[in-house]
């Protein structure tokens, strides 16, 4: 029994979950408005865009790469899709299909460059991020699109669950199925865990990379559409700078930059942790200027603690061997 609990507490998602429970208790004691359905739904709604992006980034991180360009892809596809919808009309299906197509295409371009130039993914996605975003700003001249069709901006709710939360739930479930139930999901873990072994096993690395980065681009595009629906306008640079926040959330959720490690549940917990922190601080009356400092501190402490325990466990297991 003791060993069971000890093993449980060593699991990363359990640790993060405990931190969330402690934080939620703390905030709900200090501010009665915190644990109300309205506040929690609002919290989920405002972080649904980040959650959708995080699902895409998680898959890339598990495959051993990194994608910095998904926020720029979201901006580009948001603009392209909105322009087409305003000009020719359409419905939700065409909106998601168009955006998804553009997003996946831009993601596949990342993958092809990484694969055929044999370059490190950070460098390529930084370059393509700069390229996509600058081209977007150049073409739009920084102008926003406000005249979105009514069907697009009207708020949709099922059982008082807002549309962005539903999309985020579907996306996270799809990612969960992909990673845990499909062969391609196991291949992605394999590629991230040991690329050489995956190659020798006969895994088609180039194709798998196209899928992974295409998936991330697709999720960026979906996030872009949901964001445009939420704020009822398309602002070219609205999503820029989001990439590092999302990366922080996914890493807090236990994904490793070295690849092969990461879960959907952990990612959700990472997003919830950051969301709850900022929301709770607002409710207990801390100035919004201090969010950055607190978030930074939480990231630093969390990643240090994780790495420190990993180091200690490694030492302990080495001692067993000797």
């Amino acid at each position: 029994m003791r060993n069971f609990f000890r093993g449980l507490f060593r699991r990363h998602d359990i640790q993060i979950g405990l931190i969330i429970v402690i934080m939620a208790t703390f905030f709900s004691i200090l501010s009665p408005g915190f644990l109300t359905p309205g506040n929690l739904l609002g919290l989920l709604e405002s972080y649904s865009v980040s959650a959708i992006m995080a699902a895409g980034l998680l898959v890339v991180l598990i495959s051993g790469g990194i994608d910095i360009s998904f926020a720029a892809i979201a901006g580009v596809t948001q603009f392209l899709t909105a322009t087409i919808l305003v000009k020719f009309g359409g419905n939700w299906f065409t909106a998601f299909a168009l955006a998804g197509l553009f997003g996946a295409l831009l993601g596949v371009i990342n993958a092809l460059l990484i694969h055929y130039l044999r370059a490190i993914s950070v460098i390529i996605t930084i370059s393509t991020m700069t390229f996509y975003f600058s081209m977007l700003m150049f073409v739009t001249q920084g102008r926003s699109i406000y005249n979105l069709p009514d069907w697009f901006t009207n708020k949709i709710e099922v059982l008082s669950i807002p549309f962005p939360v539903m999309v985020a739930a579907v996306v996270l479930l799809t990612t969960l199925l992909l990673l845990s139930r499909l062969t391609i999901g196991r291949l992605i873990y394999g590629l991230g865990g040991n690329p050489e072994a995956a190659k020798r096993m006969g895994c088609h690395v180039g194709g798998l990379r196209c899928f992974v980065y295409g998936y991330s681009g697709f999720m960026g595009a979906v996030a872009g559409i949901v964001q445009a629906h939420r704020v009822e306008e398309v602002v070219p640079n609205a999503l820029m700078g989001r990439e590092l926040d999302v990366l922080a959330a996914v890493v807090l959720g236990g994904a490793s930059l070295a690849g092969g490690v990461g879960t959907v549940s952990g990612t959700i917990l990472g997003i919830v942790l950051l969301a709850m922190l900022q929301n709770g601080l607002t409710l207990i009356g801390v100035s919004s200027y201090s969010f950055g400092a607190v978030t930074g501190l939480v990231i630093l402490v969390s990643v240090s603690a994780t790495a420190y325990t990993a180091k200690r466990q490694q030492k302990r297991s080495l001692r067993h061997v000797i």
């Binding site: 950070v122 700069t130 600058s134 081209m135 150049f138 990366l247 978030t295 790495a307």
Partner: protein, 346 residues
């Protein structure tokens, strides 16, 4: 052994002018790209591109990005990354700006030199503290540098935002402004500062024991530790060194804008990585030369100035910077493939 003698001495004599005759393919590639860019732009804008005014404008614009790129290059060479450089530079600038405006309100009798000295020391101390914290977490906790510096970036920027509530602090004595706008024999002081920094970084990386251990860590950290190098402390030094360069960049930034804020120069963050990698710094660590970085900065600046003269938007310039990066990687790959094909044929 005797058969190796003549060959060895020939190789040694070839290495006598490493700067004049660089045998580094990256540097050759960059030189060619720079010459091609100059030719294209002087053809497109005949009288304006090759003029003293253009050269002067470029000399004033380059140092800021240049010093920040040096700050990025050092951790890159050690196999890491410092995403906090811009945030660190802004915090240093704010600390110095705060002290200057507090000690020297209009009509105060505080000696100017004393105030500047206190401000400089405080800025340096801030940079040291941030670098030390980053280095300790990277080295002793073994956290990936991207994660640590993502955290320090958010934390440091958060501290800047909290203390200033998002406002701008401005109005500095002329001695500070001289660093950004003054010239010595027609050469901008900021450019001299950049060249001094580049020289110091170059010499340290190539010859100092610290630089050698830093590059070894970038190649193989475990092997370096087993060969008796205190890798943890070298890594702490790497991030302290990087932060101190941010402090120099902060001085130049303060002087050029005559103000300091939590949000300046943020678009430079990823451009510095681009400049370093374009300059031949291996993103996995271990390899890279300051000369390559300087050449890549010149190339990026030429592209930006040329497109500016042609009347293009700065966004298009940034897009072309991104494309240049990918193009350079592609050219290097094709060249390597071609070289190995030639070797195989022999």
């Amino acid at each position: 052994m005797s058969s190796n003698g003549p060959a060895g001495s020939a190789a040694a004599s070839k290495r006598e002018f490493p700067v004049l005759l660089p045998r580094d393919p990256t540097i050759t590639l960059l030189t060619v790209l720079i010459l091609v860019t100059i030719m294209i732009f002087s053809f497109l804008t005949p009288s304006r591109f090759l003029s003293g005014d253009t050269a002067r404008a470029m000399a004033f614009q380059m140092p800021e990005l240049g010093i920040l790129s040096l700050a990025m290059m050092i951790p890159l060479m050690s196999g890491g990354l410092n995403l906090a450089i811009i945030a660190t530079a802004n915090l240093c600038a704010l600390v110095m700006a705060g002290i200057l405006t507090h000690l020297l309100p209009s009509g105060s009798s505080f000696p100017i030199a004393g105030a500047i000295l206190i401000a400089l020391l405080a800025g340096m101390g801030t940079a040291f503290l941030v670098g030390f914290l980053t280095g300790v977490v990277v080295a002793f906790f073994g956290v990936h540098p991207i994660l640590v510096t993502l955290g320090t970036m958010t934390l440091v920027k958060g501290i800047s935002v909290v203390t200033t509530s998002g406002t701008v602090i401005g109005g500095f004595p002329s001695a500070i402004l001289y660093l950004g706008n003054g010239t010595v024999f027609g050469i901008p002081v900021s450019l001299i500062l950049f060249l001094v920094c580049a020289g110091v970084v170059g010499v340290i990386l190539a010859h100092a024991p610290f630089g050698v251990s830093l590059r070894l860590i970038g190649s193989n950290e475990r092997a370096t530790r087993y060969s008796g190098v205190p890798t943890e402390w070298v890594l702490v030094g790497v991030y302290v060194f990087s932060s101190l360069l941010c402090w120099v960049a902060a001085l130049v930034m303060m002087a050029r804008f005559n103000s300091a804020s939590a949000g300046y120069a943020e678009s430079y963050l990823l451009i510095t990585i681009l400049a370093a990698v374009l300059g031949g710094v291996d993103p996995f660590g271990g390899f890279g030369r300051v000369l390559g970085l300087v050449l890549s900065l010149i190339l990026l600046q030429l592209i930006s100035t040329g497109f500016n003269l042609l009347g293009f938007s700065p966004y298009l310039t940034a897009a072309i910077w991104g494309a240049t990066m990918i193009l350079a990687i592609a050219i290097a790959l094709v060249r390597d493939n071609w070289l190995s094909w030639l070797k195989l044929r022999k």
